[in-house]
């Protein structure tokens, strides 16, 4: 593929068809097509409505607890001896991750559209919990599809969703993981088109989802930009985030896109290693293809069949990635690296002992690369990392990996 000429105006993306260069689009069955087009119109309308935006800001502030702090990680900075390391503390949000930002935005939109039933997919359970939470808050019935394997590894989150009044449906079709949960949610949606809103959890899927989720998550980058200007009087030299589908990363990156001096670094999950068949690094180890409504980089075999992703973190093991990341990768505006399971575990322990913050395994992947980035940038430089989730949900997985019993 030839990379398109480097655009100077990132606000031109996506175009009206939802395309970021050659990525994105709307690859859905005809039955869903009118719904997806309606959703595009409804979102454009809401986006331009100051009242909708004010409502969202108010819930972000009073319900989710935004803005989240920007925290100078002093001991980690000393430990690595390079650039100053800052954490954007999105793990302090209500529900413990960045997922609530998007769930709030979309449920307000769903209600505005008169939808009366909410469905969602979830991997680790963080998006499922965030969706169940907003459904409880606004009194809408909620069905969450979750891969049967994930239901087993994330029992606390399944219990949380049930407490919040959501029905969790384990998905054993296909391979019983996040991608199959998403397939099953799309099957539900196509069957219940008349009343159902599909609340997708990452910046992927048919247009307008990638742009809509990006917009709702951009509160992360917008706050971080303001906060660092206030604390340091200048923009950071690099911003870093982990990537599964890529919603927390695109939320951090987007407000910095036009600041050419700011490096954007995404960290994918390398599982057992990108040269093995057990990883989730779509950009590093995949090829462009079409899945779940958009054209993007995918893990696939020679026949175009989708390969199962693997990561120790259930929130990163998705075989695709949001189309805007595919675009930023191809034009070279963002850099993408990867972290193995073991490196993520080391970073998880380091963050806990040096900063007193137990991170989720997802941002631990980002942290595993932040040390090198800080050293490469050197003293006097600044790096901001999105600490997009807290680690409470992961203690069982980590204990098992360390050979300990809880």
């Amino acid at each position: 593929m030839n990379a398109p000429a480097k655009p100077n105006d990132y606000s031109a993306y996506p175009d009206a068809e939802g395309r970021f260069g050659g990525f994105g689009g709307r690859y859905v069955a005809e039955t869903l097509m009118p719904l997806v087009l309606d959703l595009g119109k409804a979102y454009a309308d809401a986006k331009a409505d100051p009242e909708f935006q004010a409502q969202l800001t108010s819930y972000n502030t009073h319900y989710a607890g935004r803005p989240s702090p920007l925290y100078f990680a002093e001991r980690l900075t000393e430990h690595f001896g390079g650039a100053k390391i800052y954490f954007k503390r999105d793990e302090l949000n209500h529900t413990g991750s960045h997922k609530i930002n998007n769930a709030l935005g979309q449920i307000l939109l769903a209600m505005r559209m008169g939808k009366t039933r909410i469905i969602a997919e979830t991997g680790a359970g963080q998006h499922g919990v965030a969706t169940a939470t907003v459904c409880a808050r606004f009194g809408l019935p909620c069905v969450v599809y979750m891969g049967a394997t994930d239901v087993e590894r994330q029992k606390p989150n399944v219990f949380r969703m049930n407490l919040l009044g959501a029905e969790v449906r384990p998905v054993s079709s296909g391979t019983g993981t996040l991608k199959d949960a998403m397939n099953e949610a799309m099957r539900d949606w196509v069957t219940n088109v008349h009343d159902t809103y599909y609340l997708i959890g990452t910046a992927a899927g048919p247009h307008p989802y990638p742009v809509m989720v990006r917009d709702f998550q951009s509160v992360i980058g917008a706050e971080a930009r303001e906060q660092i200007l206030e604390m340091e009087g200048r923009l950071p030299d690099a911003v870093v985030a982990c990537i599964g589908g890529g919603s927390n990363a695109i939320g951090l990156f987007h407000p910095f896109l036009a600041d050419e001096g700011v490096r954007l670094i995404g960290v994918e999950a390398a599982g057992h290693g990108v040269r093995t068949d057990k990883h989730a690094a779509s950009l590093t180890g995949g090829r462009p293809g079409v899945l779940h409504g958009n054209r993007t980089y995918l893990l696939q075999d020679d026949d175009g069949q989708i390969i199962d992703a693997h990561s120790i973190s259930a929130g990163l093991d998705y075989p695709g990635i949001g189309p805007e990341h595919s675009f930023l990768h191809d034009i070279g505006r963002a850099e993408y690296v990867s972290t193995t399971d073991n490196e993520a575990l080391e970073a998880f322990k380091l963050c806990s002992t040096l900063e007193g913050i137990i991170p989720a395994l997802e941002p631990a992947h980002a942290l595993a690369r932040v040390g090198e980035i800080a050293q490469e940038l050197g003293k006097g430089k600044i790096v901001v990392m999105n600490l997009c989730g807290r680690g409470d949900k992961d203690i069982f997985t980590v204990a098992e990996a360390l050979g300990r019993k809880i």
């Binding site: 039955t31 079709s173 296909g174 099957r187 293809g289």
Partner: protein, 275 residues
Amino acid sequence: MTKDRIDRRFASLKAENRAGFVTYVMAGDPDAATTLSVLKGLPAAGADLIELGFPFSDPMAEGPTIQRAAQRGLKSGMTLQGTLDLVAAFREGDQDTPIILMGYLNPVLNKGFETFAALAAKAGVDGLIIVDCPPEEADPLSDALEAEGIALIRLAAPTTDDARLPMVVRRTSGFVYYVSVAGVTGVKSADAADVAPAVERLRKASGLPVAVGFGIRTPDQAAAVAKVADAAVVGSALVDEIEAAAQLNENVTEKVLLKASELAKAVRSARVGTK
């Protein structure tokens, strides 16, 4: 040849004043050899057109029956190329029955549209249905297929409103496939009363024959649809026979052809005595 075969078949059905019977089976379910023997037997069992599914790992528009068929197909090692090989083998003995491949975009995209179109034409494929490629995204695929004379069959659904119709029938040929229920394959049942006006609307907008599928399981349902549509498509009910026979170690080909002939009879007799 290619899509002319579809046009010729619908012209002769019109001359006989009867609806066509369209069967769907999945390539490689339970294995390639069985699929080939089923394909070879289908025309004699009464299939006027044959849809052949090529397996995909993530079939988002399918109900459990065809999801499992896709998994079995993949497990038996079936690929897109393997599916084309089956068509070529079928064509050696049958030059008249149109074959339409049906599946998802990624395996086709992975081959490259031009490469796929050339290989498909050579194998004797007449049409292609891609479930997750709406008209808005179809131009590159249409270009490649048109160059080889293969029809890109368009899907229309109950949610397709009048405003969308011109978009849906743009650059389409062969026939239009009306998905008679909002949902996945093989779960809900079609209602012939709702189907009739939808078929009429699609005929008018496209100038093409209209085949109806996604909710036809029994001979009665097939007959009811055959009264008002140009063709009735049955998939999951046949795939269920394949699955049951394979599980019980019975003769898969025999079982599925028996089911097909029952349904074919219902379709063929639906308009007897009508003008």
